[in-house]
């Protein structure tokens, strides 16, 4: 379902030629880049370990995809909208829920519920700052992330508590050769795709991203939509934090740190317009795979940290340039 060409996007046109239509999609480039990175790694290892690399890529990309989806909806709301509290929310949720479960298999469900409730709370708090105090979202989510971080420190003082055995088992195993995590992320991505491309709410999000005032005057319940988006982002961060902690054997106070940039990166490399009003789900998967495979490739070639960082940056910029349609002439 993810790969289905999105015929509802009118700007791209409904070309009879499926191939041409697919190539015109901005997200195709992230898959191409991921493929290139994969092949480059395989060249080095002589084709050895292809499956296990793919398996690892799917596993780790799932986390980026899940937070990326939430971030995508937020970014789609238009300029200035971005959720910087994702890492802190992940940490707080993981800390509280793992502490609650205390490695007891019986408490998994209530533990998950607690994760969701904490996520809900974070999302509502973020949106309250944005709506009631009219703080610009970037700063609002940044400030609240400091609060969540403190809460996480205060609640558990950085102790790593192991997840219950069945949960750890679930998050590290797979079915049909696919990691369970990837299945969860695929499911969520599919859901997001339906919401964005087929549902009324998705249209509303896109409309708000282009012109909030116009959307409101066209009867879009702007507060409700933005509320859902921010809460949704926090909930996805909560689920991701919960799963990541289960996967890596406990919650860390800095476990979410890299997801701040990562969540933004997968959204934009995936082909969504950061100016809002135009986004797409398949690209997030492509970008998440790409980000993982890129680092693996550079690691495999044994490059120093500096070179690795520089190449990562250059490749990101190049992908974005290639994927862009030329807009202005110099």
């Amino acid at each position: 379902m993810m790969m289905k060409p999105d015929t509802s996007n009118p700007v791209a046109g409904t070309s009879p030629n499926l191939l041409v239509a697919t190539i015109r999609k901005p997200w195709i480039w992230s898959y191409l880049a991921a493929l290139l990175a994969f092949l480059a790694t395989m060249v080095l290892s002589g084709g050895q370990g292809a499956l296990s690399l793919l398996y690892a890529a799917l596993t780790f990309a799932s986390f980026s995809v899940m937070v990326g989806i939430g971030q995508m909806f937020v970014i789609t709301l238009g300029p200035g909208n971005v959720d910087l509290s994702i890492p802190a929310t992940m940490t707080l949720v993981a800390t509280l829920s793992l502490k609650f479960m205390g490695s007891e298999a019986g408490l998994i469900l209530p533990g998950f519920l607690i994760a969701l409730i904490v996520g809900l709370g974070c999302g509502m708090f973020n949106f309250a700052l944005i709506l009631l105090l009219r703080i610009p979202p970037i700063i609002a989510t940044l400030s609240s992330s400091f609060l969540y971080q403190s809460l996480a420190i205060w609640s558990n003082r950085g102790l790593r508590i192991k997840p219950p055995e069945p949960l750890a088992e679930f998050s590290t195993s797979g079915v049909l050769g696919l990691p369970n995590l990837a299945l969860v992320a695929l499911l969520l991505a599919g859901l997001a795709w339906v919401v964005l491309e087929r549902a009324v709410v998705g249209r509303w999000v896109l409309a708000i991203g282009q012109n909030l005032r116009a959307a409101q005057l066209s009867g879009v319940p702007v507060h409700a939509v933005r509320f859902c988006v921010y809460v949704g982002s926090a909930l996805l961060a909560a689920v991701t934090g919960f799963l990541l902690a289960s996967f890596s054997g406990g919650a860390n106070l800095n476990m979410g740190a890299e997801f701040m940039l990562m969540s933004i990166a997968v959204v934009v490399i995936g082909g969504s317009s950061i100016a809002g009003g135009n986004s797409n789900v398949p690209g997030i998967w492509g970008a998440a795979l790409f980000m993982f495979l890129l680092v693996s490739m550079l690691n495999s070639y044994g490059l120093g940290a500096g070179v690795r960082l520089v190449l990562t940056g250059i490749i990101i910029v190049t992908v974005v340039i290639v994927a862009s349609k030329r807009k202005h002439s110099a």
């Binding site: 400091f146 950061i274 520089v310 002439s329």
Partner: protein, 308 residues
């Protein structure tokens, strides 16, 4: 005009209140020596904030300013100090690089946030290559400059004032500044009038790069050495500073004086917290709480403005 005044009044007020609270908690801060200690690290922050402001002014956002300042700091602590000619050439090239990025973003219609995100890896990587482990030293003149003790008013107060005034003159008074603001306000209008938007945007980015270089140099002058991660935090600090100072993310609405005050406020907020002696658990959270409080005050003012 009135609205402009309101914009600037609030940052001034929040800085004053915070300063009052700090003086109350720590009367020793109320001295030449104390003010210098309170504010000298705000100088590079203020410069980075100016850089971010130039970018926000043309409706873009720069996620690489922190790593860029780190990079400049590394160059200053190594090349500029050892082989000055090469060092300055590198810094000039970095400014040119910034301008090129600005042009690229416009010409290809790229989202600035991603390109600068990508560039943040590039600058960070270059910094790690230059200084794999912390070290280096500032050129002597820089250290002398940054530890200058002018009579009556400490450098830490003079420098932000000078930065704010110069930036104000450039952005708000000069005809180039007006055009750059115009790019943020209504790019199409400038395009219609025959201005080269690429050139204007490249200029804005170049000025941002220039402020970034100054920030890196000032930082090394203060800390006496550099490391590759030294200024990562400036990215978010600079955005917060511009917003605290009454700027907005779109529409070219920014205030240089406000932004410098915003940067000072942020620096002071951290000091305020350490004077409060909160439990370490809550010191991070209290930072967030202060940001929220200061920005919530904006609401009160804008309410009153709406009522008036």
């Amino acid at each position: 005009m009135n609205r402009e005044l309101m914009r600037i009044l609030l940052p001034v007020l929040s800085l004053a209140i915070l300063l009052g609270a700090v003086f109350y908690l720590q009367p020793r801060a109320m001295s030449y020596f104390g003010l210098n200690l309170l504010f000298n690290l705000a100088i590079p922050v203020a410069l980075a904030t100016m850089a971010q402001m130039m970018i926000l002014m043309v409706n873009d956002i720069d996620l690489s300013i922190g790593t860029f300042v780190s990079f400049c700091a590394c160059v200053t602590a190594t090349f500029v100090q050892e082989t000055p000619l090469l060092g300055y050439a590198i810094l000039l090239a970095a400014i040119a690089g910034y301008a090129a990025i600005g042009a690229l973003i416009y010409v290809r219609g790229l989202p600035a946030i991603v390109v600068t995100l990508g560039m943040s890896f590039v600058w960070g990587g270059l910094a790690v290559m230059i200084l794999p482990s912390p070290g280096g030293a500032p050129p002597p003149w820089l250290r002398t400059l940054m530890t200058l003790k002018p009579p009556l008013v400490p450098l830490a107060i003079i420098a932000p004032i000078v930065i704010a005034l110069l930036a104000h003159l450039f952005v708000k008074r000069s005809s180039m500044g007006v055009l750059l603001q115009g790019v943020g306000g209504n790019e199409r209008a400038l395009e219609r009038a025959g201005w080269s938007i690429v050139r204007l945007r490249a200029t804005a980015y170049a000025v941002a790069g220039f402020f970034g270089v100054l920030s890196g140099m000032a930082l090394v002058g203060l800390t006496t050495s550099a490391d590759a991660n030294i200024a990562l935090r400036y990215t978010l600090l600079s955005i917060a500073g511009v917003i605290l100072g009454g700027g907005e993310f779109t529409g070219g609405r920014i205030s240089p004086i406000g932004a410098v005050i915003g940067a000072l406020t942020l620096t002071l907020a951290a000091s305020f917290l350490s004077f409060l002696r909160l439990s370490p658990d809550w010191q991070i959270g209290a930072q967030g709480a202060i940001l929220i409080l200061v920005l919530a005050a904006r609401l009160l003012v804008s309410r009153r403005e709406a009522a008036a």
